[in-house]
């Protein structure tokens, strides 16, 4: 299973890529595999204020719904609108199909390295 080394991972199976103080958020290959085929991504609003550890939006597969959490408090600066028409991109390329970007006001907490995350999910 692909768990890229250059990303960090949350307890909720999101991956996080830091671009300065902007955090890019998606879900891991493990998460998409568990969910199955995604059929809908409820994107947050650009400009929305989010709080570390709280739900930002939800993604829905044929059989399940998963909530996407904020890795840090801040403001949503961008959302991946391409997922509106093609949510299945999260299945086919989970690390390219980012969901939203957040301008972080606080340092992200509770992130795991790729090595630790691999251990956690048994990959």
């Amino acid at each position: 299973m692909n768990i890229p080394d250059d990303l960090q991972y949350t307890d909720h199976d999101e991956w996080i890529r830091a671009e300065g103080d902007v955090l890019v958020v998606g879900i891991s290959e493990f998460a998409q595999d568990q969910l199955g085929e995604l059929v809908h991504v409820e994107l947050p609003e650009v400009g929305a204020t989010v709080t570390a550890g709280e739900v930002v939006c939800e993604i829905e597969s044929v059989k399940a719904v998963a909530e996407i959490y904020a890795p840090a408090s801040g403001t949503v600066t961008e959302v991946n609108t391409a997922l509106d028409a093609a949510p299945e991109r999260i299945n086919s390329e989970p690390y390219a199909a980012w969901i939203y970007k957040v301008q972080a006001d606080t340092a992200p907490e509770g992130l795991h390295s790729a090595a630790d995350y691999r251990t956690k999910v048994g990959a």
Binding site: G36, V39, H40, E60, V62, K63, V65
Partner: protein
């Protein structure tokens, strides 16, 4: 298919085709005591392949109960809701088995093998309950045998099913009418029953195979079908396929409490047959009640209404969702729900509480496939 006890828990049963599912990389899940494939290549792909070409389903978990003897027809006329005596040997019929309160013990397909010999195909989860119920309530002392371990079952469904199945058997399956069956060989396995029945809304066949000999039939069916576009299909797509054409699933749209009339099964509920049937008085009495009725809901947005979610009309709770999914061939979320009959008319605009937010839905009748969005077709 005999369960073994391991460390105090019951091990999952496996069908004769289990090694082929593992080899194909299927995702296996516990279902009704069996370890069953829920998906192989992906639910949406499997679903669309079944509608476009053909799907191969392992449904060996289904139960089979034999009823035979000189009074077998009378036994089933009493135990079941439809008119079994109207079908001849070689024909099959959909039935509800009801309890004294008019609820549904199970929905079953009955195959009349001979004048005094019937094979009743029952839901896997209800197998033990059904067998006990039939033995306890048969007024005629017919021979009732649980043959669930003796039969494997596969389904070939889809527009290419006739072509593929004809390559696997000497039975003239193209000439077989809907809800008729014949015994014969299938994929080298002898003494099978090949029925033109199914659950997906597509043309196709369900094949009963002696379990002990069945295993080679799976790779043979894959080999014959693959050139025609056949793919193996798991229980996930079996559910979305049946939901798109509004077939009921026991435990969702049917239960010990729900009457067949509520669930839209009036067409198999012969309340006026001579002598009635077990539960017919209660069903007739309940007919006058304003009990919730099953409706189809076409969701107007992209969010999926799921089982258990509340249905509202003007902020008032009027029902609950029993099944919901994205319909791959419909291109929109679809659901079935039990709704107060006052708000069940076709065209009624309802809302479903999807995790605290309202999602708009419209009551529609008939198959959801008639409501396919342009982009899905």
């Amino acid at each position: 298919m005999v369960p073994a006890r391991l460390g105090g828990s019951v091990a999952l049963r496996r069908t004769p085709f289990h090694p082929h599912h593992v080899a194909a990389g299927a995702r296996l899940v516990p279902y009704a005591g069996f370890e069953m494939p829920v998906t192989y290549s992906g639910l949406k792909d499997e679903h669309l392949a079944t509608r476009a070409a053909a799907g191969l389903f392992d449904v060996s978990h289904m139960g089979e109960i034999r009823v035979r003897g000189p009074k077998a027809e009378d036994s089933l006329m009493w135990l079941l809701s439809n008119a079994i005596r109207r079908i001849a040997p070689g024909a099959a019929q959909y039935n509800a088995m009801c309890n004294r309160q008019g609820g549904v013990v199970d929905d079953v397909f009955v195959y009349r093998v001979a004048q005094e010999d019937f094979l009743v195909c029952v839901n896997a989860a209800n197998r033990d309950k059904d067998f006990a119920w039939m033995v306890a309530n048969d007024p005629h002392d017919s021979e009732i045998i649980d043959e669930g371990d003796d039969w494997a079952q596969i389904a070939i469904q889809g527009p290419a099913a006739v072509q593929i199945t004809s390559e696997l058997t000497s039975v003239d399956v193209a000439a077989l009418e809907r809800h008729r069956f014949q015994s014969g060989p299938f994929a080298g396995v002898t003494d099978c029953l090949i029925a033109r029945t199914g659950y997906t809304g597509e043309d196709g066949f369900e094949v009963f195979l002696p379990a002990a000999d069945a295993a080679p039939a799976w790779p043979a069916a894959i080999a014959a079908g693959a050139p025609h576009g056949l793919v193996p299909v798991g229980l996930g797509a079996r559910d979305t396929l049946r939901l798109e054409v509004r077939n009921c699933l026991y435990g969702h749209e049917l239960s010990d409490e729900i009457s067949p009339l509520q669930a839209g099964l009036g067409w198999i509920t012969k309340l006026r047959k001579p002598g009635g049937f077990l539960g017919s008085d209660a069903i007739a009495a309940r007919k006058e009640e304003a009990a919730p009725v099953l409706v189809g809901l076409l969701m107007q947005g992209k969010r999926i209404a799921r089982e258990g979610m509340m249905v509202r009309y003007d902020d008032r709770a009027v029902g609950r969702v029993t099944s919901g999914t994205l319909g791959p061939s419909v291109g929109r979320p679809i659901a079935l729900a039990f709704v107060d009959p006052a708000h069940a008319a076709v065209g009624t605009e309802l809302t479903v509480d999807v995790r605290g937010r309202d999602a708009s839905a419209r009551v529609v009748d008939g198959s959801f496939l008639d409501h396919a969005s342009q982009e899905a077709t």
